[in-house]
Amino acid sequence: MSAPTRTADPPAAAGRPESAAPGPAPTTTRRPPGVRLIKSNAGLIISPAIIITGALLLLWNYNRSDRIFQDERALDWERNLRPQLEQHLSITLWSTLFTILIAVPLGIMLTRPGYKRLGGPILAVATSGQAIPAFGLLILAFAWLGRGPWTTIWALTLFTILPVLRNTIVGLEQVNQSVIEAGRGMGLTKSQALREIELPLAVPVILAGIRTALVINVGMAALAYLIGGGGLGATIGAGIQLRRDLVLITGAGMTALVALSVDWIAAIIEKGLRPRGL
């Protein structure tokens, strides 16, 4: 507790650069790096532990259970589980991707001076759309687009536009006006100000919206099998139909583990993309 605790008076020290003696290091009131890392990343470290434990439990449960022919067949990795997992992920990723491609540009547009007026009505429509149960939306999409994974993807895209759109708008609007003013005052064009100032500063909020959408999508993808879209929901369905607890538990467990994993990866991406200095 000697010199570095002196956080005061940097301007004076700055006035005489040569006095940058060994004492007041640039790090002022920071905790030791190790502590900070663990504290701020606690969630990122605990999640994989839970996921691995869960996976081991599922495996252990599978091995200790008496398995009949239908069990073996329903839980066959190459035949069922792996393709279902792939479908599940691809539904999740495509719908999230489309959501981003639609909602982020729309959000940007609705925060530009010319279109600001439209922001309120469009958000209102999106919000009331959110009130439709996702399942209902899925059925409606089925009635309209027919069977198959793409129906699910479009339904989910529609369903998750709202959180991303709302967060994009909020994220852009919360950017400090004086920062933009300073940038424009220095000669940044409108689009430079958007790309170099507004969007980077809105990234944390936008990413939070995208992560919400991703989590919704990965959960909803479990319902895709109802309209012939595949996904891990199929195994859950099989478990119910066959009245086999092992199949049911394994399907539900895997769905949960996939959701947790996706959220964990999203959290890492969110952390990585967050601009430093915020």
């Binding site: 940097p10 301007p11 700055a14 006035g15 650069p17 940058a20 640039p26 002022t28 400090n176 004086s178 920062v179 933009i180 003013e181 300073a182 940038g183 424009r184 005052g185 220095m186 000669g187 940044l188 064009t189 430079q192 170099e196 100032i197 980077p200 500063l201 601009p275 430093r276 200095g277 915020l278």
Partner: protein, 423 residues
Amino acid sequence: MTDHSTADAASTGTTPADAPKTMIRLEGVGKTYPGTTVPAVAELDLEIPEGEILVLVGPSGCGKSTTLRLINRMIEPSSGRIIFDGEDVTKVDPDLLRRRIGYVIQQIGLFPHQTIAQNIGTVPRLQGWDKQKINARVNELLELTGLDPSIYRDRYPKELSGGQAQRVGVARALGADPEVLLMDEPFGAIDPITRDRLQNEFLRLQSELKKTIVFVTHDIDEAIKMGDRIAILGDQSRIAQFDTPERILAYPVDEFVSDFIGSGSTLKGLNFERVRDIELVHDFPVVDVNTPRDEAQRRFDASDEKWMLVLDDQQRPQCWINGTHLADTSKPLDQLGPRVRAKVPPNATLHDALEELLMSNAGQAVVVDEKGRHLGILDVERLADVLKRMRNEAKKHYDELAAQQAALDDVQNDDVHDAEVNA
């Protein structure tokens, strides 16, 4: 006529010979915000002299910020023309114009997601400088503004104190060495001590850089301190007086200005005169320590002053003595009366001198050279004379301006007349 003469003088070019070249000229620039009927800035004519700090000062809401933002076209004028270095920039690409004009706002507005180096390098980068040149420039600017590059370059804005952030704001505005700097209450949100330090540093910086600066503040003291020239603005940015701080303090043209500069303006004016520039009292009785008593007594009797100054053999003031002291022959002259405390060097301002003078025993301050030798005496009457002279000079200046203006009007009328005759 007198109260308009200033604004007229600024716009018609009858400014006195000491006025430098005009860097930016606003010709009838006005702004009415959409949805309002009263203009925020009514037709404004303003000449901004090159290499000087022009302070726009006025009450809150009078349109200072609007005026400033009209110059770099952050706000598009509703009328009028802006001439920048001889070029009409009313219609040029505002983004390109702004890269030639540094801009500092009160909230500073550093980009929080960029390092200090990136912040400062913004305009150089926009102008396409190469990396190395930008780097060198960033270091140069950090040093110029008193921040050690090795410490601050890679920090983020949130890791700075308010004063440091303000310095970075100034450094960033100087990024690509713009000819002009616009500053909107740049030291407004800072504690008084830091503000004072930043002001002094900035003045030192400006004495090297000699930029054309338009500086907005609502604080008249800051205006007096920072301004080479001050434009006092009334409602809708109408110029009430445009002049050097000395003259504004000595001769406020109307009630609005004198109200705005407030009481004590005369005393503030003393800050602009230095002791060396005024006539000192030379007939004050002075003796040196070796003068015989009867000679000292003779000199004291010959003057009407109540006190006499005793110097040592090096001409350095020692003490004040009066008749009673003179009668006491038990001690040498320089150990009789109260010691001389109020000594001022010739480069002190009259304001400093007044302070010393009020502290002294004799109601006089002794002016001494750098070796401490007596040069003369300064008393309250002298200061009062100076103030009177300053006021008279300022008034004369305004009377001359009015006369010039009248003459000019005559010439123009004659021209019109000649033209009619020739036609």
